[in-house]
Symmetry: D3
Subunit: 309 residues, 6 copies
Amino acid sequence: MISELQKEQTVIGFFAVKEIMEKETRETRKKYLDLTLLDGSGQINGKVWDIADVIQGEIPGVGDIVKVDALVQEYRGSLQLKVNKLRKATDADSYEKQKIIPAAPAPAEQMLETILRFAEEIADQPLRAACLHIIHKYKGQIMTHPAAKTRHHSYKSGWLQHVTTMLLVAEKLTTIYSCNKDLLYAGIIFHDIGKLQELKSDQLCVGIEYSTVGELLGHISLGLAEMETVPNLDSQRKHLLQHMILSHHENPEWGSPVKPMFKEAELLHLLDLMDTRMFDFEKCTKPLEKGALSGKVYELDRKIYNPLI
Amino acid sequence: MISELQKEQTVIGFFAVKEIMEKETRETRKKYLDLTLLDGSGQINGKVWDIADVIQGEIPGVGDIVKVDALVQEYRGSLQLKVNKLRKATDADSYEKQKIIPAAPAPAEQMLETILRFAEEIADQPLRAACLHIIHKYKGQIMTHPAAKTRHHSYKSGWLQHVTTMLLVAEKLTTIYSCNKDLLYAGIIFHDIGKLQELKSDQLCVGIEYSTVGELLGHISLGLAEMETVPNLDSQRKHLLQHMILSHHENPEWGSPVKPMFKEAELLHLLDLMDTRMFDFEKCTKPLEKGALSGKVYELDRKIYNPLI
Amino acid sequence: MISELQKEQTVIGFFAVKEIMEKETRETRKKYLDLTLLDGSGQINGKVWDIADVIQGEIPGVGDIVKVDALVQEYRGSLQLKVNKLRKATDADSYEKQKIIPAAPAPAEQMLETILRFAEEIADQPLRAACLHIIHKYKGQIMTHPAAKTRHHSYKSGWLQHVTTMLLVAEKLTTIYSCNKDLLYAGIIFHDIGKLQELKSDQLCVGIEYSTVGELLGHISLGLAEMETVPNLDSQRKHLLQHMILSHHENPEWGSPVKPMFKEAELLHLLDLMDTRMFDFEKCTKPLEKGALSGKVYELDRKIYNPLI
Amino acid sequence: MISELQKEQTVIGFFAVKEIMEKETRETRKKYLDLTLLDGSGQINGKVWDIADVIQGEIPGVGDIVKVDALVQEYRGSLQLKVNKLRKATDADSYEKQKIIPAAPAPAEQMLETILRFAEEIADQPLRAACLHIIHKYKGQIMTHPAAKTRHHSYKSGWLQHVTTMLLVAEKLTTIYSCNKDLLYAGIIFHDIGKLQELKSDQLCVGIEYSTVGELLGHISLGLAEMETVPNLDSQRKHLLQHMILSHHENPEWGSPVKPMFKEAELLHLLDLMDTRMFDFEKCTKPLEKGALSGKVYELDRKIYNPLI
Amino acid sequence: MISELQKEQTVIGFFAVKEIMEKETRETRKKYLDLTLLDGSGQINGKVWDIADVIQGEIPGVGDIVKVDALVQEYRGSLQLKVNKLRKATDADSYEKQKIIPAAPAPAEQMLETILRFAEEIADQPLRAACLHIIHKYKGQIMTHPAAKTRHHSYKSGWLQHVTTMLLVAEKLTTIYSCNKDLLYAGIIFHDIGKLQELKSDQLCVGIEYSTVGELLGHISLGLAEMETVPNLDSQRKHLLQHMILSHHENPEWGSPVKPMFKEAELLHLLDLMDTRMFDFEKCTKPLEKGALSGKVYELDRKIYNPLI
Amino acid sequence: MISELQKEQTVIGFFAVKEIMEKETRETRKKYLDLTLLDGSGQINGKVWDIADVIQGEIPGVGDIVKVDALVQEYRGSLQLKVNKLRKATDADSYEKQKIIPAAPAPAEQMLETILRFAEEIADQPLRAACLHIIHKYKGQIMTHPAAKTRHHSYKSGWLQHVTTMLLVAEKLTTIYSCNKDLLYAGIIFHDIGKLQELKSDQLCVGIEYSTVGELLGHISLGLAEMETVPNLDSQRKHLLQHMILSHHENPEWGSPVKPMFKEAELLHLLDLMDTRMFDFEKCTKPLEKGALSGKVYELDRKIYNPLI
């Protein structure tokens, strides 16, 4: 993994191409390739000084998986790859695409179908229409959008994974706790809609950044404003959904100026919290052996233990 | 309801007998009955000055439901009933027992069966044995014990209702989030075991009070200590369950010195939170009309709204 | 003043009519008037049992100032006026209308002119247009709307007084601190626009209440949403103003999920704070003698001292 | 700038001499010069190994601006200049003195005149005398003293700039908010008087440090104690000014054990806050391009945005 | 006790005279006495309508203990005594003076001797001189001054009791923890010196109030300022004592802007805390039976338990 | 000291052997020694490549003090000793054992005697038996156990030093503040008993770590559970001691879910706080010259000053 590379080491591995550009050396005017390569653990700059010698077959493009043989060097305090050999990966190669470009485990198409199924099951016509409107409006973007910058579901199709998992849990819970399912499903579908504007992401969903408007307003306010643009929604339903968006982090310090004031808003908050916590525990427990304690885990602000049983 | 009585009003209604005692007036040495009556809204002292005239049929005992015709009077700043007529309620009377002696909606026997079913389903032998041990140890007490003094499930069999509902929710959730079901079920069964010592309650579960040891140690520490007495439990399992008890309120300010450090402990915390919040929302929303806002609700530290849809 | 009335006292004074209704006594079917009267200190219910005898001249209407001679009685724990004489006030009467119906010291028309002058001085065309649009949209409402429920400027035309004072201060400050005056003026005009929806007020601006949507979303979110409806505003300007609205309370605990991120947003926050603090100090110092200390002042969360010099 | 120097780089630039000392090498007993040079961005040690060869003209003294040609070297983990050529700067050289020795933009003499003008305008004789006394007492020191160690106005004459700007703002504000101008002006002049003892600074106001008594007591307590030494001040006025000093940070966590209890004390707090915030925003926005977001800004505990308009 | 009196009750008891004034009834111009009487539990107004009949022997003066026979009446919402008989207490009467006028258990003279003994034992001449100076300066006042308004030692000679107990504890502790005893003793003597100005008290030390300067500055700042007036104290010692005064509450929220920075300052803080806590526990445990729990105790912000052993 | 070693330096000094192992080089199969050496300032790895040449006399064992002559080298980013000469220290060598293996200043045997003396002085039989039981149970472990991982008394026999000092202080204080000495002594002996399980330490008490159960439960909960295992202790005494253990950190954020509810519990808290503060001040003041200020001290969260007097 990129994060484990060390100076002077030789590495052979599979990476994704995040950026690729042909440049010229300042003095000798010789062409070379300037690359940004990444895998699930991070990214690194690479140089192909002698294109003809190094590149085998076609020159790869952004998003291609490549096999690389390179020397790790230090340049101005950062590590860099001096590439000795590079070729596009083929079906014959054995690598885990998931580890190179992290993404939700289920295919985006299938998750989209799930979210659409729930939207269509909403009995209340205006809420159903609002949900279908927003899913169709952002259909393109949600197929790949992450759910966060660095924390839970911060990878390709993370937004879709987060929302569909919450819908599936909601379906279960409403068999035990009585509530307005239509309102709850709609609230889940809309609650993070502002993240589509708050976060900017490249096509590979690796370099996730906050957009300027994301910094100025935050996803909760952006979601609230988004509700104003949903056509044909009466003000009671609009205000209920705006309240659910506004209160889903529950606390002022976590970005919610008001607390949930009806049961579906409270459930939305708890389902959101549960899905992020379960994600973080899953992720942080995986690398731990049975009986081992982690160091302080940033996402959860505590150490994690993996029970022996 | 008792809480709504006003001075000088005449009231006819059904109440439960919490206390009943024959006394004598100081000077005339005449016998009278001193009663404490209660319903779901509170309790009140009552006097039967002329026993023969007032009591119809048998003199009722503690726990009986009685029909009362009385005048509300003020005595030394408190309201008191001067009872004109009183008789034990019969099957012919129409009153809601649930409103007079609040209790969990399902019968305690049925809930006990549920909790036993879950305990028996635990595959891990030591955890199963520990759960069955504790249920059998406190079988008598849990049939009526409340789950809190004034907040959620603070009525007859509330402890059992809280634990069984959490088990049912856990059963659903573990179909979506992978975890060690045995540990989670055992954690749920044990998490509030200390409340059996922390709270003292009369047979009708109305006058719930903290016991002295409850004030000195709190239910979390009492539960922790209880674990020391479970026979044949290896230290790994004992420590896991003690950690789950210790961390289930999650925050130091809420009584948990450590945060949940494994997934089942975190889920336990979230399920506990969800069950109490759903209970409180249900209770506080019920008296609200559609579209109405409540005043500040103490349990939830916010106002509650009942949506129009 | 109404707040100082005591049981069994006879009072002669001037009040405003907040509500007036003709009713009938239950048994004798005699007509009487049921009134709500108010002055700057509070409100009180009154009864005119013998209309012909008590009312001199025309029966007054809502909003009229009346002269009342009455006996203060207690009824079910509240004070009530048994009116002996009542007539509409005339120009010959000497009373301070300001003390009876509290309102901003300057006429609303003059403050409206001020706010319009500032809006027209904005050099940036889109910001100017947005400000003029919103002033004209709410022209009717802002003439009387209060700026708060119970704290600063919580009286007739308080909203307009707060905004215009802040504009006048901004005009001064920008001669010392360089900043974008257009943005600052527009931010001031829009910052409390959500209060027009958050607060409901009767015509006399006394019974100020939060609206349901005010409770669900709060004036900051309502202002944010309002910005979505301003026509022809490019997204940079819209986002700047939304950020100013969002951040003007500065702290999450005071309702602002983000802190001011540019100078004009910071100045807006400081000017808002200064205007409310100066208002509260002025109001709370007025009743204090020189050299006197007040008790704890709720609005300012401290005691106030009136210096001897 | 010094902060941007990198190992092995050759630099030619203008710096101020903070320290200069003739020393001898341990073994060869050869004389060399040990220098501390600084500019607005930081400071660096320098060595002149061959004095005769390197120094052109007179050897410079502390506070002189010099032109230096040197090689940047690393020595025991720190950068150091091996000076090749060094001479005192002349009027013919083009450099910005302000960038080398940062200082308030206006001349100290002019600011002193402003503060004196305000002091003389105070109508109340004892307050006027107290202000004139303190200005004259510290006349020498305030000409150069900074207003802080690392935050706002932490450069030459920063104290004077902070106080005079606040006076100018106060003059404007008191045309809108009524208050006792004499008290406000005196409060402004005295509020940071304790900083003259709290901070120690070399003549160039670069190496600003807290004094021991500054650490033990802080500038607020030192200012309070200073008031005890003002001659001929009655106790009411002394206590008012002490209260203003004590409360001007408003919150216990910011060093004020009491909150402002009269209007002038509150205004002092707000003016102080405003002047520091405006300073910090100005400083942090300057290096940002239009439309750019900064990283987290330490002084303001947030990111800063430079609007496009 | 006065706090337990009830309307229409007849009371015979011993009280202290806090105020006594001869007045005239408005209409009949008849002379009567207007009294304020107090005991350890509170105070009450009393009227002697028929002086000749009621008063036996000499008319008592302020501070006298009197025996009173009176009827408790309600007047304008407060209780009042209609005095039937009143005479000065004699040595023959059996009452506990301590319960009527609460005071420190040891005689003030003896405590003064103790504090003087410690001051004279200080080996460091300037610290010894400073301590003796301040004790002699306030010799009159400290004989009766309380140590607080409503909390620990808020009675006659409470200040002296608090300081001398701390000195005695310090003497013991310094046999175990090494420190500068001179500095510690001096710090204890000076730490609450500002309370002499912060609190105003009548001669009987019952109506304890904050003075205006106490509200404006607080006892910590007043103590700090007091140090400026101690003659012949070098600045190191003055600053050390000022730091001890300033930091003895340890936390900004408790009034200390700086934390203790040397061992003696830390010990002072801990000794102060210990003496107040021990006082409060003693006072709050006394009325509790063995095995009983108190309600929430305001001073300690918790319930108190009296152990069975 | 180890913490001050620098690359390429030659060092001659005394260290303790923490680990020693004979290994073989991978290729040449030559035997060498792999050592971990430590002194009071830290630990370092060392290699003895040529055993015969380097080791003088016997090969040392774990816990031996050795005299080492070595070269400091960097290997994979860490410092390492290439040992030139090494021999066991003899009585003729002059080194301070205390500086090499930090430990409590008094011998453990003597402290054990002290703690036993106090336990035997407890008049209450059940408390005395409980204390003697626990001391005898952990007699082996407490002889060397530290009292903390990195803060106060985090060295050999630190636990014993902390407990015995507190007992000595308690003995003094109870001559001034009345309380149940038996309960206080027992509380002191038990309060940190959970640390024996919470902390794992090697024989030299240098590498102190939290155990897994220490992380999961913390020493307070472990102490609480330990009390369940004390034989023949009635529940009142058990609950009192459990409450004392539980509340001795006083605040939820410091690990105590309840505050001390009786005087002995409060005193325990204050004595614990005092002993740790005195320890930390002593340790942090020692390296400071008279009149010097430290940097921010982590343990005390403040700077420390060493007074000139």
